[in-house]
């Protein structure tokens, strides 16, 4: 018997449960259950026994057996006026009844009566049942009724709570059936309710509704912030029951923070109370750790995690980001496994923000250590993710090496993902070919089985496209096969052939192709190879493909003359398509929902290639080979190309360069940005765009540039010298489709998928080249049809001159020498301005780095000053640029001095940068 028997303690039920527990075998259990079922079936029941037997049936069902009767009895219990009978009836229905049950109309009837009963306990049972079942039929029956219960003045608190969450459930299952109406405004005011339980339930509801139609719930921001600050500042005693291990209303706080995440960060100049509140949270928790042990500690930190999520979402306050990062750094070494896991996970997100990337990098040793010592594979997995996220050029070698060494004894479940990540990192940050080839070979050696085809294909693509790697790669592979090099060609062949029998069919086919190519290149091995091809194992091979290849190659080698052979077996042309199949695979692994379905294969060959050796900033004559270098070397240059220097004024629609990029349209006058696209349409002139405050993007490259209730446009961009690539993400925030979706720039258009599914995201890639210095920002025009009306949106793309900066490191002497060289008065621009943000050295550093210049320390005699240098790359020139920023904390003023070799550049950069502090 149970330790405690509460309530009526249905004795028969307890006996039955005991019997079941005493059953020694599964058979005995089934027998006992069948006996009970027969027993129940035969009885004519009054209310009490009905309740008891329904309970027994429920228990049997929960044991995992099927129940094919009793539903009707349960439904009958709903109409009982005894609370407990009703309660069991509802429980049975919530657990057992599927939404498609044919009893649903009877059930709905019972619910309807209880909702109308004005008895709060009955109403609660009915609402719980709706929330638990949440079927479409129920939504149809009750969706219009529940809002009025929720906002009615005389409704009890507990009913309000149930009604709010019930509505939430219906809104999730059948959003079309939950009408918006005048109740929405009143729901928002529930955030001010006296009863914290009501606020908690209402916050969940409002968050979901606000995601769907943010405009209707905008007023909730201020209410939520006010509520949050009251929670943070109140003494824990004020909240009584809602204080949980010395934390005031943690669930409510987290929910409110979630709600705030539905809205884009407030404008730059606006005071930022949410940030302040969320900032307080992480600040709060480190105070306590040493004093409070165990669970209480952990509980404090849960709030900070959500607060940090909000900070990340806002992405606007570098100080907070850096502080959040430091806070997480402490968690990294915490003895609680759960916290270490979360710290690694959150840092992954922080690493993607430009302001905190550097701060995250400082924890690299701890993370590597975690990778080596953590006992839990899921924690190690997070460590791998974080290493991948924090990797950049400065630490790639270390990280790749660590990942490789970890791979040797990594768990099988995550090996494949690590292989993909290593392959991507090695490729992205490779600084010399030998390192890349070595790394990949190492990778294959360590985790041969886990290296998927995609990795192979990608490696081969790269090796083929880069002439100079080929030699080294071949040599290394050859050495890897461990051959003494006497007669290389013959031996190579013999060596390859010695492995032949060990290979699978597709590999053998590849090898046969390789052999025939040997014949072309090294005539002296021809007889040997012909023998192999002629052998029975090839000509009579069971595999059709192999057989065919062997016969064809043999005939080819016998009949064809050297010339023909040479033509047929010519070197493979470079792969034109540069999308990495590895990346696609990794994305696929991560699940289709998280990755915008996009067509990266559209990239053309020109856009993503890059000049690799051209860094002398003072070299004013841009080498004419620049674009030629951009093309794979062993590919014929387009005949139309000529190294004419382009500038905005003289660009004609049929200019050679446009041909090169396979487009044919004219840029708007004055725009000196060339936006690479693949279509040949040119767009009508757009309406002037609303200002999305592009200045926010001067020092950062990623973020949301536009958002309304229908559409969110996000941006990620990368720049190298005079080239840029922008990924534009269009997120459909509604649940219905956008039709005839198109976007155009004031320069060119490119086609995107004309439909965007509800909730889906579409990605578009823009390639950009800076032709000469410019001050206008390009405008992106987006058009689509939503529910019959044509939507037209124009957004300024945050492409500014400073994006084409390359940082330049130099010594103090060099700096001053160049500073003096740029002594002509027109070359210098100076401005003095008042600080708009707190004057924090770290933040300023991050901003100057984000601006694109190198930060030179120890150059200025006054250590408080900031000195930077960089080169702006445009198509035809490079403009050297030196800057100096002198803060005056007392006056809260800055003086910014810029010297560049070009007057217009100095002015533009000064305008951009002075808005940032």
């Amino acid at each position: 018997m149970p330790a405690v028997s509460k309530g009526d303690g249905m004795r028969g039920l307890a006996v039955f449960i005991s019997d079941i527990r005493n059953c020694k075998s599964k058979e005995a259990e089934v027998k006992r259950i069948n006996k009970e079922l027969a027993n129940i079936r035969d009885k004519a029941l009054d209310g009490y026994s009905k309740k008891k037997y329904v309970c027994k049936l429920l228990f049997i069902f929960l044991l995992g057996h099927d129940i094919d009767f009793g539903h009707m009895e349960a439904v009958n219990l709903l109409s009982s006026n005894k609370y407990t009978e009703k309660q069991i009836g509802y429980l049975f229905i919530s657990v057992l009844v599927n939404s498609n049950s044919d009893l649903i109309s009877l059930i709905n009837n019972g619910i309807k009566n209880d909702l109308a009963s004005r008895n709060p306990t009955f109403m609660n049972l009915a609402l719980h049942c709706i929330a638990n079942v949440g079927s479409r039929e129920m939504a149809e029956a009750f969706a219009s009724q529940i809002p009025s219960i929720l906002v009615a003045g005389d409704t009890m608190d507990s009913v309000k709570q149930s009604a709010a969450l019930c509505l939430l459930r219906l809104n999730r299952t059948s959003p079309d059936l939950v009408p918006m109406g005048e109740w929405t405004a009143r729901v928002v005011h529930l955030l001010n309710d006296q009863h914290l339980g009501v606020v908690t339930a209402a916050t969940s509801l409002i968050t979901t509704l606000a995601q769907k139609s943010p405009e209707d719930f905008r007023t909730s921001i201020s209410l939520a912030v006010a509520r949050l600050s009251r929670i943070v500042t109140s003494a824990s005693i004020d909240l009584q029951d809602y204080t949980y291990y010395f934390v005031a209303a943690p669930w409510l706080s987290v929910k409110l923070l979630r709600l705030l995440q539905c809205y884009p960060p407030p404008g730059r100049s606006a005071a930022q109370p949410p940030d302040r509140v969320s900032g307080d949270h992480p600040q709060q928790s480190p105070g306590a750790p040493q004093v409070q042990e165990g669970p209480a500690l952990q509980r404090k930190e849960r709030c900070s995690v959500e607060a940090i999520a909000l900070i990340i979402h806002h992405d606007s306050e570098p100080t907070l980001l850096v502080r959040a990062c430091n806070q997480l750094g402490q968690f990294l070494q915490h003895r609680e496994t759960n916290l270490r896991y979360l710290a690694l996970e959150s840092m992954c997100t922080l690493a993607s923000s430009e302001f905190s990337h550097e701060a995250v990098k400082t924890h690299i040793d701890t993370v590597i250590n975690a990778l080596k010592t953590e006992r839990d594979v899921s924690v190690r997995q997070r460590a791998v993710d974080l290493l991948y996220a924090m990797c950049d050029r400065s630490n790639s070698k270390q990280i790749v090496a660590e990942m490789l060494s970890y791979l040797e004894n990594a768990d099988y479940s995550i090996r494949e993902e690590i292989v993909l990540k290593v392959a991507i990192l090695a490729e992205k940050y490779a600084v010399d070919y030998t390192w890349y080839v070595d790394t990949i070979l190492n990778l294959i050696r360590i985790a041969g089985d886990h290296v998927s085809e995609e990795v192979w294909y990608r490696v081969i693509q790269i090796v083929i496209n880069q002439d100079d790697v080929q030699g080294y790669a071949a040599k290394t592979v050859f050495e890897a096969l461990q051959a003494p090099a006497c007669h290389e060609n013959l031996l190579k062949f013999n060596l390859l052939h010695s492995k032949f029998h060990l290979c699978s069919v597709p590999t053998r086919a590849l090898l046969l192709s390789a052999y025939i190519k040997f014949i072309n290149l090294f005539p002296e091995v021809k007889p040997t190879i012909q023998d192999v091809l002629r052998s029975d194992s090839q000509l009579r091979n069971a595999d059709v493909e192999l057989q065919q290849r062997a016969i064809e190659y043999l005939r080819l080698s016998c009949i064809a003359s050297t010339d023909i052979l040479a033509t047929v077996l010519e070197e493979m042309p470079p792969f034109p398509e540069r999308e990495s199949s590895i990346l696609a695979k990794l994305k696929k692994k991560k699940g289709p929902g998280k990755v915008p379905d996009m067509d990266e294969a559209r990239w053309n060959v020109n856009g993503n290639t890059e000049h690799s050796e051209n860094t002398e900033p003072t070299n004013k004559s841009s080498p004419p080979s620049l674009v030629a270098d951009l093309l794979p070397t062993n590919r014929p240059r387009p005949a139309s190309y000529s190294p004419t220097i382009l500038s905005a004024g003289n660009m004609a629609p049929s200019h050679p360069f446009t041909d090169l990029l396979s487009m044919n349209s004219s840029p708007a006058a004055g725009a000196s940005l060339l936006v690479d696209v693949l279509s040949d349409l040119s767009s009508p002139a757009p309406a002037p765009p609303p200002d999305p405050d592009p200045l926010m993007f001067v020092c950062k490259n990623n973020g949301v540039i536009f958002e309304n209730q229908l559409l969110q446009i996000g941006l990620k961009s990368e720049y190298r010298q005079n080239l840029g690539r922008i990924y534009v993400f269009y997120g459909n925030k509604t649940s219905s489709q956008f039709l005839s979706f198109s976007s155009s720039l004031n320069v060119h258009t490119m086609p995107v998928d004309p439909t965007v599914e509800g909730g889906a995201q579409l990605q578009q890639i823009l390639n950009i080249e800076c032709l000469s210095d410019f001050s206008d920002t390009p405008v992106l025009n987006v058009q689509f049809r939503y529910g019959g009306t044509l939507q037209n949106i124009a957004v300024k793309l945050p492409v500014m001159l400073n994006k084409f900066f390359q940082p330049t490191e130099m010594t103090s002497e060099d700096f001053f020498q160049r500073w003096k060289q740029l002594g002509v008065p027109q070359q210098e621009v100076q401005t003095i301005f008042k600080a708009q943000h707190p004057m924090d050295t770290d933040v300023t550093n991050a901003k100057i780095l984000g601006f694109g210049v190198a930060l030179l320390s120890g150059v200025d005699p006054n250590p408080a000053n900031f000195v930077g240098a960089g080169v702006i790359h445009t198509k035809n020139t490079q403009v050297g640029c030196l800057l100096r920023l002198e803060p005056n904390p007392q006056a809260e003023m800055y003086r910014l001095t810029l010297r560049t070799s070009r007057e217009s550049v100095s002015q533009r950069l000064c305008d951009l940068l002075s808005e940032q502090f």
Binding site: P2, K6, C55, L62, D241, L252, S580, V595, E610
Partner: protein, 188 residues
């Protein structure tokens, strides 16, 4: 002058996976998917589903998940990624409490939901044990319904939840009082 050489002209086609998710869009219907209680022997003691699934799917999910969790060692962390869900679990004596939440959900707060539920059970049954939950499974369901509704926290105050349950018990006892005599004489 630092020479910046990139080996492969991959103009940034690789970027960090996690920022593929744009902030804002990613905050979608996050909620609890289901909650399971099971014993160390893998017997389900309570199951609550907040998403519509067929019986077959439910059985498969619980079977797979119970196996996965029971295979984990005690010192391992309480979170794991399972299919496309996040699983948060914790063991209390012989019982495992396990919640599945969506990818963007806060794991720690979910862990606290589990803990608060255990506290509620503990208070109601006066130091709860597995047997209490077996014999009074309906109470365990009622308490859960008061605390969580549709996968969201409804009432986080311990006092208020227990007050609601005790009121219901009171109604029950009043209604059943004349009944218990009959029951004593064997009407089972």
């Amino acid at each position: 002058m630092q020479r910046q050489t990139y080996l492969f002209p991959l103009f940034g086609y690789v970027f960090r996976l996690n920022i593929l998710k744009l902030p804002g869009v990613q905050v979608t219907n996050s909620k609890m998917q289901f909650m399971l209680l099971f014993s160390r022997q893998g017997k389900l003691r309570l199951q609550k589903w907040y998403v519509p699934l067929s019986d077959k799917e439910r059985k498969k999910i619980s079977r797979d998940l119970v196996q996965t969790i029971l295979a984990r060692k005690p010192k391992m962390c309480s979170f794991l990624e399972w299919r496309d869900l996040k699983i948060v679990y914790k063991r209390y004596a012989s019982l495992y409490f396990c919640c599945a939440v969506e990818d963007q959900d806060n794991e720690l707060i979910t862990l606290e939901i589990i803990h608060r539920y255990v506290e509620l059970l503990d208070k109601y049954f006066c130091s709860v044990c597995e047997l209490d939950i077996i014999f009074n499974f309906e109470k365990a369901y009622f308490i859960l319904d008061e605390f969580l509704l549709g996968g969201e926290a409804q009432e986080t105050s311990k006092k208020n939840v227990l007050k609601a349950i005790e009121q219901a018990d009171l109604l029950q006892e009043e209604a059943e009082a004349p009944r218990s005599v009959l029951e004593e004489i064997g009407l089972t």
